[in-house]
Symmetry: C2
Subunit: 243 residues, 2 copies
């Protein structure tokens, strides 16, 4: 409804090397779509350096596409907040700043808090089961890597992602999953912040699921907000020591 690029993730190559898309199946995506997905990945993972300028002719040659199609992809990246464009000047990959990261946390606290409240109010059996399974997998991974103090950021990510889905609010889902989360991932990849909060985060996740299961929206929201704020404080400390 709100966005069409929610779930499908075409990987790597631009050309549809993937086993012959049978004509007009619903998976049909335009060249600009594929360029968009590829470039988004490159920016998020840092293969295109943050703050670097983008040359339309060069990129177009590199992907063997016309400038028009490329420009369409660039505009979508701009609306995602991953690029900044100025008229008659060009596009740059967005800069990663300490302030931007902290701002991101505040917005997430507000939105994910609300998402968690709604998830508790509209919860289904399936939601709760999946969240518990997910938590179990994370515990397993954590045990395997016990002592390393290294926490799979993707695990934490999946957890938050799943809760947002359960909120059943399309606008909220779109705003978080199709907009903010790519910026979150960009910071995680490039500032490489593996959280040392592994055990603590795990317990917090567990309590959040409890609140959702019991349908206590108010508590679920409070716990989620506290969870995110703790993560923010953690990062803030790290950053202040770094300087």
């Amino acid at each position: 409804m709100l966005s069409r690029l929610t779930t499908v993730q075409s990987e790597t190559a631009i050309n549809t090397t993937e086993a012959e898309v049978p004509k007009g199946t619903r998976g049909s995506q335009s060249l600009a779509d594929r360029l968009f997905l590829t470039l988004r990945r490159e920016i998020v993972e840092g293969h295109m350096a943050a703050g670097s300028k983008i040359s339309e002719p060069e990129l177009a040659r590199r992907f063997d596409a016309s400038r028009g199609s490329l420009r369409e992809a660039l505009m979508r990246l701009e609306s995602l907040g991953l690029l900044e464009r100025r008229v008659n000047v060009g596009a740059r990959v967005v800069d990663l700043t300490e302030r931007g990261l902290l701002e991101l946390y505040d917005v997430r606290e507000a939105l994910e808090g609300m998402a968690c409240r709604l998830a508790a109010q509209n919860r289904t059996e399936e939601d709760v089961v999946e969240l518990r399974q997910m938590l179990a997998r994370h515990e397993q991974q954590e045990e395997l890597q016990a002592g390393t103090a290294y926490y799979q950021p993707e695990g934490d990510f999946d957890f938050h992602f799943r809760i947002v889905q359960a909120s059943n609010n399309d606008l909220l889902i779109d705003t978080l999953c199709n907009r903010l989360y790519y910026r979150v991932r960009m910071y995680r990849y490039q500032l490489g912040m593996a959280s040392p909060r592994a055990h603590r985060a795990f317990r917090e996740h567990s309590h959040i699921i409890d609140a959702i299961e019991s349908g206590d929206g108010e508590l679920a929201e409070i716990l989620m907000r506290r969870h995110i704020r703790a993560s923010r404080s953690n990062i803030e400390n790290k950053l202040s020591k770094q300087n």
Copy 2:
């Protein structure tokens, strides 16, 4: 699909903004920019009916622009959530639904609540002064129209807008002011919901300013959330009676 149809066809020219833009002096904007602004206005104010299909060739002719520039404007509108596009099919103006409206309120409650908290924490003398002046103007307007039970929606809008600006969080500001608020206005224009909550809203606004002035972020957030939720309940009642 909520309907309250509007069928005006404005034929304003794009290029004749205001008297001779002297080269690249004032806010140089591209043709696509101007198309974007014009179309956004037409959609928000309902001159392009919600849910109606958009013909690229027709619009391009109407504004005497090429399809390329028009398409750029359409894509920006899509990322604003005012249009929906499907590959090889085309674009439609987004539908106004009861569900969409309520979703909007929940997201606003979360974001504006946070904005209000931050505004209280980062408040400046100027912020407080301007908010009080604004409130005074609204009171005056309200007295003039006393008894009519008609409340200037723009007044309420300005108030919320100003508080968001005071949050000093660019991501939050962008998300609310450049994204969500256009959808809010679209619903206001087209469902024509003049709030009968004039006096009550006024008092609530006043208390919110008090909390901001005293730097009590927690209270400011609570009051703003309650304010928005009350507005939501009000609408929800209206809608349920209508059906």
